[in-house]
Symmetry: none
Subunit: 192 residues, 4 copies
């Protein structure tokens, strides 16, 4: 007996619509009807694939939520490399923050979702940051080695704080202020 396979094209349309809506209105205010409508699908098609709304959202996170930053080019100076890194981080967070925020209140009372999300969060290759710092040492811009994790942690904190309490868009002034006012003084201090 022939069994028609579930059309992968429909999967994508539904996942896309779900991610958009998650960002726009959050988990609770997002309805399955909205998803169906935006994906030009019927609710039956959704329920044929996923057991329910939470399962769909978990799948969205697993498949679509990659915080990869673009590889940082060598700009020739620590200041430039740091600014490029920070700018990339801003863009990445800007793209995902509404999704994270949309999910956040649900996470408090939904451990399953919280675990899944956390498992897909780090994603950033710290080697990138390490390389950036080593280049600076070689150039003589830094007196000694610096822990890349610590630096990236502060950078993330600055970006998320800005995003949550001021909201997008993030402009160049914020990048300059953060790099010149915080990150540069900090790495210099850490380097010795």
């Amino acid at each position: 007996m022939h069994v028609a396979p579930l059309d992968p094209e429909r999967d994508r349309a539904i996942l896309d619509a779900t991610m958009e809506l998650l960002s726009e209105v959050g988990f609770d205010r997002m309805t399955v009807d909205q998803i169906a409508k935006r994906a030009k699908a019927s609710k039956a098609t959704i329920y044929r694939r996923w057991a329910g709304k939470p399962e769909l959202v978990v799948d969205v996170i697993c498949r679509r939520f990659d915080m990869d930053l673009p590889p940082g080019e060598d700009t020739g100076s620590l200041r430039g490399d740091l600014a490029a890194l920070f700018r990339g981080l801003c863009e990445s967070v800007e793209r995902k923050h509404t999704l994270v925020i949309g999910l956040s209140s649900t996470l408090v009372s939904n451990q399953e979702l919280a675990r899944t999300l956390r498992a897909h969060m780090p994603a950033k290759d710290l080697g990138e940051v390490g390389a950036l710092l080593e280049r600076a040492v070689e150039r003589g811009e830094l007196a000694g080695p610096v822990d890349p994790g610590r630096l990236f942690g502060v950078a993330k904190a600055l970006v998320w704080h800005r995003m949550i309490f001021t909201g997008p868009p993030i402009g160049e002034p914020f990048v300059a202020e953060s790099v010149d006012g915080v990150l540069m003084p900090l790495v210099r201090a850490w380097a010795g």
Copy 2:
């Protein structure tokens, strides 16, 4: 003729219950019946005061959301003062973070709420931080003046980032790491 005023005691009970529930389950999952039950009030009493759930929550934010830190004592050293400040900030954020998170997804699609919340966020008397820094200059721990707003901004960013992505409780190790690893190097760098 006497006109019975709305009992302020009821206001408080309702606002308290609302704030608790906001923290526990978030805006969307919080129901008016839950609020009424917890406040030992009837729904009529709530609707006599506020036009609906959103209006009530806006009021909660306006009246109850004060991030006042306890006054920072002089501990005799910059490091001690900074640690005390940071610890107070952690406690304050720890108290409010579930509320903010509970509201956050709503804020995305509710500008009214977002604006109100933001207007009531700073609340921190920066004079406190300023005094702390001046004491350090007088003691000779810092070479020059430092912008208290900038320092407080970084501190807030660290605390909120930690709270959102790791969650409570915040322990002494995080305080030590933040003060010694970030704040102290930074103020020293800024002070010249």
Copy 3:
């Protein structure tokens, strides 16, 4: 020590307002707040006097609604007198059946109230009916004396049954059918 008596003026205002509203909107749609407002009284003043809405309305019926039938004229024949009596009864019941029906569900579970109402229901001076029957005996239309209470009881039953299960208005055909079909045969049989 002085004890202030309940002001009878307030009684009247409340009873008046109640009667007006009863005829304007009926028992169910009339609220105690409306009564209070119209009587320029407070609900406390009402509840100080009556245990509830049904009790108040029963009192209204008792005091304001005496089921006085118009005095039955001598029409010259038993049939005519009976028809006049029955017609008067119909009108009387038609005027207040809505009230009694509105109360009925309360009466079922409140025997006290039911008894009170019942005590004021007949209101009809049975002497009237007795006189009617005596005239018939004198005229030679009846062979002997008849219990007026029994006759009136059957008449009431016919009218109320009709009112409840068919509703107003009551027309002349019903009067004729009742008098000729039931009451006349019955009194003749009773008279021996």
Copy 4:
């Protein structure tokens, strides 16, 4: 396009639950939420079918409450047959008078509903009464034929009047008084 029809299985569950609750707690104390809960239905499902509680109850009465009197046995005498009939009527009315009374105030302002209910009220097979009367004629107890509808109408009036203004229980004295004092004289008079 397909249109899902209302599931008749749900109809039954709701009607059953309603009838149970009606007999357990009565019309007034029965809430729509209780019905929904017991029928494992949602209120929406109920309100999709009926406009409100009264309409639902009328439907219950119409579908589930046929006023069938127990078949009247031949007791050997007109007086005995009449008494048996009247007793059966009393029991039947006693069983459902609370229901009708609970509805009565709604019926006053809802002619549509009143008509529906009325159409399902008699339900009594008048053939029964007719047979009873014919037996009496055959026995020689009655001089001629009698209209069974007219007799039954008077009987109903007596019972309902008693029920509404005196309430249950109805005892044997009332039966005796009604049969001997009203019904017997009446049929004899009608029979000529």
